[in-house]
Symmetry: C2
Subunit: 328 residues, 2 copies
DNA sequence: TGTATGTGTGTAACCGATTACACACACAGA
DNA sequence: TCTGTGTGTGTAATCGGTTACACACATACA
């Protein structure tokens, strides 16, 4: 690997001049610049990011913490973040926290030690105190907090929407599957659904589930054993919805005649389920991009007027809910 | 952030002694060591990885290149790699190459510039020449090559198995969906299927598809418009299989009566499809772990006898294939 | 002619670690 | 007493960049 010294020698100047030429700071004579460019090309010189990072106390790396990379919702978020960052010349270190605080702390340590210049966290841990004394800006993603900037989707609306759509389609005994309630958005989502069901005066039961694949099947079985005559399910996410759908098939239920199901997230796979899953869409990719944009602003030290960006959710009508006549 | 100097001052010794104490190299008096440990604790000192990395020309970072993080097969691989690396104190920089050579090269540059000490690549690019002059070891994952160490699953077997299972279940007009053929494993897979079908003397058609979600639906429609009377589909992966299944439902086909489908990969979602997808399972998580283990050996400079690790695949019988009487 | 300003470049300190080397001291064996 | 060896520690160079500062020179203007 060629170093700046090699370039300086080849171009017949000092390293300072090379550095200035590369970074476009200070004066460099046109002719000198050409010499240097030539030397750089010939040696295929690339500045050593580590050395830069050591001096500047800044790398070009961004940390991204995801709770569970296996849940397709999160790769979608990650893609949004990645694409935006890529366009700005930043790179991502993705950490999979596995919903464990310890792993999350581990990654934060790695991020600090590698001089990341910003962090986006979609962690689901209730406590946020480990984010308090960071030397770089932080954006929370898919969650919110008054103390930190965040990008999230409207859980209240999402829960409400899901409930409303089931009620308007005639469900009488609704099961609300509540995700892990560590985060405000998960609580909002639940609250939205419950509020709506109270108002509509529809019977409902509540069950708390995890978001993960491995356990989804268990929860689905549990659901039907506890509430065998449920006729509407508001799932905690699309993964759980898929498991419920699968279990319903196994039990010989007709969908959406006997049972209607609404998922949450709208992961790419949901359209391929049978019947295709009706769900509340969170704009995951856009959320990722927005989080990245917000972080970039913060890193630039720009004043940001709105530090908590709320994105809308949307009911995606497919076929796990009945058709209704709409008067529009 | 406390530095080694702060620790040295607090402990009343030189930085060299602190460094020796931390790294357990050279002599350090027991009492001195205690003083230093105490100072480290009080200051909450963590060595700066960037400075270390600059001097040692080695970080603790491992690069991982994935072709498409949205395809659930790859997060599964990633988890395997991550878990193994985590246990050895290494961290991952995950790069999503998006099946584009340019992005892949970008990430490789980032990896070099950040002194990664090893690279695992599941890239699908045909050319590998950009891996030739790396200063750190490389392991190919989910692909193979004579020049580089690799961990992959038996494509020949996989293709053969898929074909055999369909043939033994009475398929007469099989459609083989061929993935992108840039990689040897994809070619093997195809060859395995075709060999078996030739041998069995069963009619088959071939269509080349991508592996991606966004295009899966298109290919599914294309399939049935080109070969409307196909009665067996060997899909290029589970994502495509899901799309085919979805399209088959839309066309009112009975599965597995009218049409049998076999996927590839066995991603977690496949069990939740309806009917649950029969598929060829690649042990993704284990592949990831094996790749990590192999890389660690290479990084340690150990002689590795077998640089190309072949893992077995397995037919997972679910319900997109008919039941057969087995005489076992 | 003297001074201010702009241009162009080099020297050397610095970022925070690691380590080669020098040196001091204790103790053992000749 | 002298020498060799093991123990313990500090000084300073080094990794590959960036940049403060000094300095040289050209030009402009009073």
């Amino acid at each position: 690997m060629a170093t700046i010294k090699d370039v300086a020698k080849k171009a017949g100047v000092s390293v300072a001049t090379v550095s200035r030429a590369i970074n476009g700071k200070g004066y460099v004579h046109e002719d000198t610049r050409k010499q240097i460019d030539e030397a750089i090309r010939e040696l295929n010189y690339k500045p050593n990011e580590v050395a830069r990072s050591l001096f500047n106390k800044k790398s070009r790396l961004i940390g991204l913490i995801l709770p569970d990379i296996r849940n397709p919702f999160f790769p979608e978020l990650a893609r949004g973040v990645e694409d935006e960052m890529q366009e700005h010349g930043f790179r991502l270190i993705i950490g999979n926290a596995d919903e464990k605080l310890e792993k999350e702390l581990d990654y934060i340590e790695t991020f600090k030690q590698n001089n990341v210049i910003g962090l986006i966290s979609a962690s689901t841990n209730e406590v946020l105190s480990h984010y308090d004394n960071l030397s770089f800006p932080l954006v929370l993603l898919d969650r919110t907090s008054v103390e930190h900037p965040s990008v999230y989707a409207n859980g209240l609306d999402g829960g409400r929407l899901a409930a409303k759509e089931l009620v308007s389609r005639g469900c009488k005994r609704i099961s609300v599957l509540k995700g892990p309630v560590e985060t405000q958005t998960a609580r909002d989502r639940f609250k939205g659904a419950v509020d709506e069901l109270y108002t509509a005066n529809v019977h409902f039961d509540v069950m708390t589930t995890s978001f993960a694949f491995q356990e989804a099947e268990y929860w689905a079985k549990e659901l039907f054993s506890k509430y065998p005559d449920t006729d509407g399910v508001i799932a905690s996410n699309d993964v759980v919805a898929a498991a419920v759908l699968h279990e319903a098939h196994r039990l010989g239920k007709q969908i959406p005649e006997d049972l209607q199901i609404i998922g949450y997230d709208d992961i790419p796979f949901s359209q391929f389920l049978y019947p295709p899953l009706s769900t509340i869409r969170q704009p995951a990719y856009d959320m990722g991009r927005e989080a990245a944009k917000l972080l970039i602003k913060l890193m630039d030290g720009k004043k940001v007027e709105n530090k908590n960006i709320l994105l809308p959710v949307q009911f995606i009508e497919r076929q796990t809910t009945r058709k209704v006549e709409r008067d529009d």
